[in-house]
Amino acid sequence: MLRFIVRRLLQLVPILLGLSVLLFAWLRALPGGPAQAALGERATPEAIARYNELFGLDQPIWVQYLRFLGRAVQLDFGTSARTGRAVTTEFLERMPGTVELTVFAMVFAVGVGIPLGYLAARKHGSWLDSTAVVGSLLGVAIPVFFLAYLLRLLFAVELGWLPGSGRQEVRIDATHITNFYVLDGLLTREWDAAWDAFLHLVLPGIALGTIPLAIIVRITRASVLDVVNEDYVRTANAKGLAADTVRRRHVVRNALLPVSTTIGLQTGLLLSGAVLTETVFAFGGVGSAIYDAIFARDFAILQGFILMLAVVYVLVNLLVDISYGLLDPRVRVR
């Protein structure tokens, strides 16, 4: 097992190197090059020359790349043109919000998705099944930002049940230690702050969780149907095992294998892809920062955030691979 994990970790290296090359090339390829990207179009030739010298842009390209890599390894991606703060600082400050949101979205998607998918498969062909299937197709087809607007309009504005933007009610003077607001509230025993932060996760979490929910329903349903038809289940049934035992021992356990990988994959995607949802809900995570950076042409933020998010995504996928290896010994052999 250890060897498997080590091998997977080693395989990460070329991927990360490749990523760094791509993002390095991306910044180089921007109109006007990195100096212009950092200094703006009005930069004087002297300022550009100064910048080029400072960052070694007058050096051969491979030296430049190595320097970039050297800084990237130390998580130094320069400073944001918009706020003048270190890109890494911004990232670390905003990532907890995105993590909280992702956790909520995934708990929602899994909590609703697996039971729904299982029931749909058990009642194959019933109205529940059809509803689940149609719903899961709709869930994937509806543009996320539109769903987000609808949710907010209905539950925040019209009904006023839930907060429709931000991470916490600003009138609550909450203490923040970890920047995970719900956790902070619990740690400091500011229960109202924790509850409030939690409520702020509900609408964006549901909007964000809809696609994973739809996919999980579909996969659970399909894989339960698959497993029910497998020979070992038929054998178990034929052997006369109690239906409950068959369900628990064989159907659920085997059906959950593909579902668990889907969960992992979607978690990775949500951590990196909450740009739309966070923007609509003015939620202060990494996604809304990327949106702001697009408009401010804040390339330092874009480059640093995309690279770090890709790394997060890769790492989450690695965890998925490893856990998959733990769950299914066959994978290790491949």
Binding site: L19, L269, G273, I294, F299, Y313, V314
Partner: protein, 310 residues
């Protein structure tokens, strides 16, 4: 990394590669068609897709008005947009243009973005996949490593990066979405080709002394296409939704007068309280078309997958 994501693609490839005994490419497609025709879900999907394609193709004849003419502009007031009335069955938009005509013409742009980006992504991806699958060896290793790196970037982030790089122009959006599709198709086709490599007919052809290139392009490639077709149909839905997302992020078509559902939907958010219909209609169009392609794609997948033919 995305080992599991890769595995998923590979599974799709491998399944479709299992050509049952006695069935060649042509009869496979024929039998798939037969199954499709009996599947109501597939028919629903196909009807939706065909209807929208017809609307897009015949937009100039179907649209009651010029989608750009600001006919009712003088009746627009901030906070009051003319609703449905004679000659304007769905009312006007915020600049006094006929909403129905804009939806009709919008189908062109939206479908075009979907089709072009998917075709582009599929063609380039397939070329890459063929390159890797046909040559094998170090070419395969290098190419597939690169594909894996691309797969490790979440697709929306990749589309954003590319849009930013290309600047705002009509094609940037298509290229950005296409690029996100390339690695998927590449891996899919390569996997599907590998799955065929050991199949009986390839071994037979090789034993008969048929040249390598001939085997690849004459036999393996055509037989590997079915998962690609499935994936392309599903990708069309994704591409249309992703185009809407990029429009929302302000990375869409710079010609904002040209009707396009994603852009219409994004703009309409500002008028939700004044006239929600401006948002609801384009959103419905996007959802229905995406649903149509998804239904068709899923049914195709089932029809082409031998596993479902018990």
């Amino acid at each position: 990394m995305g080992d599991v994501r890769r595995q998923r693609i590979d599974e799709l490839a491998a399944r479709a590669g299992r050509v049952p005994e006695g069935e060649g490419g042509v009869s496979l497609v024929r039998s798939a068609f037969r199954r499709l025709r009996r599947n109501p879900v597939a028919i629903l999907g196909a009807v939706i897709v065909v209807v929208f394609l017809v609307v897009a193709a015949f937009a100039p004849w179907l649209a009651p008005r010029d989608p750009l003419a600001q006919t009712l502009l003088s009746e627009v007031r901030p906070g009051a947009i003319p609703g449905p009335q004679e000659g304007f069955p769905l009312g006007a938009d915020q600049l006094g243009r006929d909403l129905l005509s804009r939806l009709v013409y919008g189908s062109r742009q939206s479908l075009l973005i979907g089709v072009v980006s998917t075709v582009l992504g599929a063609v380039v991806g397939m070329a890459v996949g063929v390159l890797a699958g046909a040559f094998g060896g170090w070419v395969d290793t290098v190419v597939m490593r690169f594909v894996d790196i691309l797969l490790s970037i979440p697709s929306l982030l990749m589309a954003i990066s590319i849009s930013v790089l290309l600047g705002q122009n009509q094609y940037a959006l298509m290229i950005a979405i296409a690029v996100t599709q390339v690695p998927v198709f590449a891996r899919l086709l390569r996997g599907s080709m590998l799955a065929q490599r050991g199949s009986d007919y390839v071994l037979a052809a090789r034993a008969l002394g048929v040249r390598h290139g001939r085997i690849v392009f004459g036999h393996v490639l055509p037989n590997s296409l079915s998962p690609v077709i499935v994936q392309a149909t599903l990708s069309l839905a994704t591409a249309i939704i992703e185009a809407a997302a990029l429009s929302f992020l302000g990375l869409g078509d710079p010609d904002i007068a040209r009707p396009e559902w994603g852009a219409m939907l994004a703009t309409a958010q500002a008028f939700l309280s004044v006239r929600p219909a401006l948002a609801v209609w384009p959103a419905l169009c996007i959802i229905v078309v995406a649903l149509g392609f998804t239904l068709l794609g899923e049914s195709l997948r089932e029809a082409l997958d031998p596993k479902f033919r018990r």
